[in-house]
């Protein structure tokens, strides 16, 4: 299975490629629309700021090709962390930014209801499986995953939510909207369970 790891100048694409390779996939890190079109699966990684992420996607002419591959041709897409957030309608990270708007969600700052909780939310935390998802195959209930983020995804349509996490307030940890998947946690950094998520994504 060829997994196109979308290169838009942000994100730990090497780590994602390493994890894909470890579970038997063929990673292809590229920002070339023609090459992305040849991939069976697409991953939108991402570490960084929302505004920069959207600007980079647009600046590299990737939005149009992804829209075609994902929304019209139905290619499975997995967004990770910032990559998942970019799929939302909008974000209030450092101002207001429009997202890709492919899933009914918005992104907002983590403001914990318990002041003792530190931000960014860094480390291993639960992912409560709220709805069955093909990505959760062979993953025990309440498994731990690695999170590192200061902003969180909030669903505007609960039907999209497949997993949630609570850190001073509940947020979307995993979602599925048609063929579009997203995880706030980093499967490529979440040891065995994370690798299982990637295996499941490739096996869709």
């Amino acid at each position: 299975v060829t997994v196109g790891i979308i290169d838009y100048g942000l994100g730990n694409k090497r780590s994602v490629a390493g994890a894909v390779e470890a579970v038997g996939g063929e990673p292809l890190i590229t920002g070339d629309p023609a090459l992305l079109a040849t991939c069976d699966r697409l991953i939108l990684p991402g570490v960084g700021a929302f505004g920069d992420g959207m600007a980079n996607l647009a600046g590299r002419g990737l939005i149009e090709v992804l829209d075609r591959l994902v929304n019209r041709e139905g290619r499975p897409l997995l967004g990770i962390c910032l990559g998942a957030q970019l799929l939302a309608r909008e974000s209030t990270e450092f101002g207001h930014h429009a997202g890709l708007g492919w899933v009914p969600a918005r992104v907002e700052a983590i403001v914990p209801d318990d002041p003792a909780l530190r931000v960014p939310h860094v480390g291993w935390n639960d992912m409560i499986q709220t709805r069955p998802s093909p990505l959760f195959r062979d993953i025990p209930e309440q498994s731990l995953f690695y999170y590192v983020h200061s902003f969180r995804i909030m669903a505007e349509d609960e039907d999209m939510v497949t997993g949630s996490c609570d850190y001073g307030g509940r947020f979307v940890a995993a979602f599925q909207w048609r063929n579009i998947f997203g995880t706030q946690f980093h499967p490529e950094k979440s040891q065995r369970h994370g690798l299982t998520v990637l295996t499941n994504f490739m096996g869709l």
Binding site: N12, R14, G48, V122, L144, Y167
Partner: protein, 246 residues
């Protein structure tokens, strides 16, 4: 509930894994010791002195670790420019650890954070007792006169995502973490604080969380990273009522 973290800090001299004592190389090990499954996170620091060794040797080790370890990898030692940061991330690092460059020019923290996000920036603070706690730069040799809690707060304001605080005197001492230092820094910031230097037994981990208020404990003792050591540390912590990933 967010777990407390146990982090291995691995120090490399010219690409060779060492443990340190008082910030100097002590014993030599190989990467075969590494148990990449039980540990929560790995920090790799290049402690090669300026002008010595070949930087490619450390780079090769980072690449090797990132290929085999599916936990977050932070890389530091000699990071001074955005190009250095970019190179580390290309090698497979998830975060960079910045120390002297941030002290010399605090705005550097913000420049990295703006490009890669705050979560990518760990500011490392080396502290010596003189007799008050003071921050030191350049392998803890150059005094800066700064108080650790004030520098930590400034680093947070500049855009740091985490603070790694190390006590030089405790390094390799096995006497336990400097809990007062840890608490001081924890109380000064709202970002996670990682404590390093002095862990000698699992009880020291426990104290760093409960007394020091740390979000993560670091061990530079390579034996803590061998075979079942981290697993047994975590069993100890669970019994002590600390929430960790097992």
């Amino acid at each position: 509930v967010l777990c407390k973290r146990v982090i291995s800090v691995l120090t490399f001299n010219d690409g060779v894994l060492f443990r340190t004592k008082l910030f100097e190389p002590d014993y030599r090990y190989t990467s075969n010791f590494v148990d990449a499954w039980s540990i929560d996170e790995i920090v790799m620091l290049d402690v090669t002195r300026p002008g010595k060794g070949n930087p490619d040797n450390f780079a090769e080790m980072v690449r090797e670790f990132s290929r085999r370890c599916f936990v977050p990898l932070s890389v530091g030692g000699g990071i001074r420019t955005l190009a250095d940061v970019e190179r580390c991330l290309e090698l497979g690092a998830d975060k960079v650890v910045i120390n002297t460059a941030a002290l010399d020019r605090p705005a550097f923290i913000g420049e990295v954070a703006k490009l890669y996000g705050s979560q990518c920036v760990v500011v490392s603070i080396d502290v010596r007792r003189t007799p008050d706690d003071r921050v030191f730069a350049e392998f803890a040799r150059r005094p800066t006169g700064k108080a650790p809690q004030e520098w930590a707060r400034q680093a947070q304001d500049e855009g740091a995502g985490e603070i790694l605080v190390s006590s030089v005197e405790r390094d390799g001492s096995l006497q336990g973490y400097d809990l007062d230092l840890c608490r001081k820094v924890v109380d000064a910031v709202t970002i996670p604080v990682l404590i390093c230097g002095g862990a000698g037994n699992w009880g020291h981990f426990d104290k760093a969380f409960t007394v020091g208020g740390a979000s993560a404990v670091c061990t530079t003792n390579i034996y803590h990273f061998t075979e079942s050591a981290i697993r047994s540390a975590k069993q100890y912590l669970v019994k002590a009522g600390i929430h960790v990933r097992t």
